[in-house]
Amino acid sequence: MNTPLLAVPVAAPILGAAITVLVGVRRELQRVVTVAVLSVMVVVAALLLARVDEHGHLVARAGGWTAPLGITLVVDRFAAIMLLVSTIVLLIVAVYAMGQAGEERERVSFHPLYLVLAAGVSTSFVTGDLFNLFVAFEMMLAASYVLITLGGRPDQVRAGMTYVVISLVASTLFITTLALLYAATGTVNMADLAIRLGEVDPALRHGFSVMLLIVFGIKAGLFPLFFWLPDSYPTAPGPVTAIFAGLLTKVGVYAIVRTQTLMFPPGRGGADWGDDLLLWVAGATMVVGVIGAIAQDDMKRILAFHIISQIGYMIMGLGLFTVAGVAAAVFYVIHHIVVKTALFLVAGLVDRRAGTARLSSVGGLVRTAPVIAALFAVPALSLAGLPPFSGFLAKFSLTDAGLASSSHAIVAVGLAVGLFTLFSMTKIWTGVFWGDPDTAPERAPQTGDRFGGPLPMVLATLCLVVVSVGFSLWAGPIHELSQRAAVDLLDSTGYIEAVLGGAAP
């Protein structure tokens, strides 16, 4: 089905960014534009999801050029789900940022950058063209480079250097892979690639599969390409870290799932070794991430290491390559976006309330700021996978899928890592919310607020926590939806037909 509605997630935030630049120093107007644009995107994403679920794939051809000549925008169920969840998170974090005195108030460039980031994220989800995906990544990354160094503090410059250089290496590898793919197949349209790669030498195809896995693995923080992540994310301002943690790595995971299922399905050409490779990588990512978290003393850094270990679960679902496994991965991704962003927003609240996020310098917040403690407890238990929260359901369906395809080793690793996750959350809880601080915080605590922070910040965090609880309340319908999304992903003929249409050879 063809629809121009698909252009909105790409064009709206770019236009919004332009307007916020024009509005300039008038902060109130900038805020209105940002919230309006993101709200429109949420509504459009919800409409798209409803339509996709009813009619199947939606396609829009930029400039009227038919695929594979023009750039095709295409949305299937997985992309629509990701689009909806990410725009909701973007909107909530924007509100949170507005409540916080800091970068958003002091810097004119915050709103335009935030909207360009939103454009990059949503374009990555809707594009059907591999080079356009590169451009979307660059949009997202260029905005993130500036956001992570906004303020120019020494630690930000240090972290920014590592982050920018690593991302640039990934981008260069991406261009290289694109060049080789074009030389081998003569196209960069993903659906067209899916067909033409079937005719390519299997050894070459495996090479391409691994190259794309590396390119997106750097972005997603897979083992052994994760090392830059915990160093750079925590230095950014609170809301920026939250959006990076929640969305950027997941865009990498989305790209891995999209390319591996569409272009390198295991059945055709026998890329079976690829599945095992993914499971090994998933297991190592889980274990290394969770062990790294144990050694840390800073709340944000513990959470940053947990991003890595959680990415392992998503890749495990993909590596199983069954409908149940991929469905569990889809559910895991959306659960994790919401929960992880909520946790980082809480870390921002703690940082503001106590003057630091270092475990040894904070203590007793459960008495002095019970609202923050409650807001932390729900997503933390969810992340650790305790029933009845969404994390339990995600881990349960993943374990179920793993046992069904008798991959016992990876299931055992996943369950053990879950225990360690619980240990880390307990460590944060005892360090931040119980006991007394050992050392003085770096900055003066701000204890004036009634709910532990300014109302917009607390309410925004509460919204995300409510969304994550909503995932467990409506787990049935959401799981069925992700099941349908997984069926779509594993049977790529629908996607290819929707994109190439009658033009298919």
């Binding site: 290496v169 261009i175 030389a183």
Partner: protein, 145 residues
């Protein structure tokens, strides 16, 4: 011709990778630039043989005579993006110079704290840089921060 281009791309990749492994940001920036050139050259080469410019002047000739315009468009896009990000990296290097009188990419402080923990249980002293090569430029009087 293609072989020559492939060799040039390989040399650019090798030199770029080597520069990328250096400690100073200026060298890394040059390395990134070389890597980007290598990748773009590869992109142009992937379009196949050189041919007539793909601009139609009313007469449509044999398609095989024209060179493939798509990789050229892709390379142009990639060049523009690399240019912008390189400018940003240089600005970052300048900022680092302003702060530290140095553009070295530093170790992560938290990592050092974690690795020191098993050696010292006492209060954390000043963090030893552990690298004698701190700056080529002495911090002069009046510049000390």
């Amino acid at each position: 011709m293609s072989l020559l281009l492939a060799v040039v791309a390989a040399v650019l990749f090798a030199a770029g990778t080597w520069l990328l492994l250096q400690r100073r940001l200026t060298r890394i920036v040059i390395g990134i630039g070389l890597l980007g050139h290598g990748a773009n050259l590869l992109l142009v080469t992937s379009g196949g043989r050189a041919g007539r410019s793909p601009v139609l002047d009313g007469t449509v000739g044999d398609p095989a005579q024209y060179s493939d315009p798509l990789p050229q468009a892709l390379a142009l896009t990639a060049i523009v993006i690399t240019f912008g990000v390189t400018a940003f990296l240089l600005a970052l290097g300048y900022r680092s110079w302003q702060i530290n009188r140095d553009d070295k990419v530093e170790d992560d402080i938290e990592d050092r704290l974690v690795s020191r923990r098993h050696r010292t249980d006492g209060p954390e002293g000043p963090i030893d840089d552990g690298d004698p090569d701190t700056s080529e430029f002495e911090v002069g009087e009046g510049q000390a921060s």
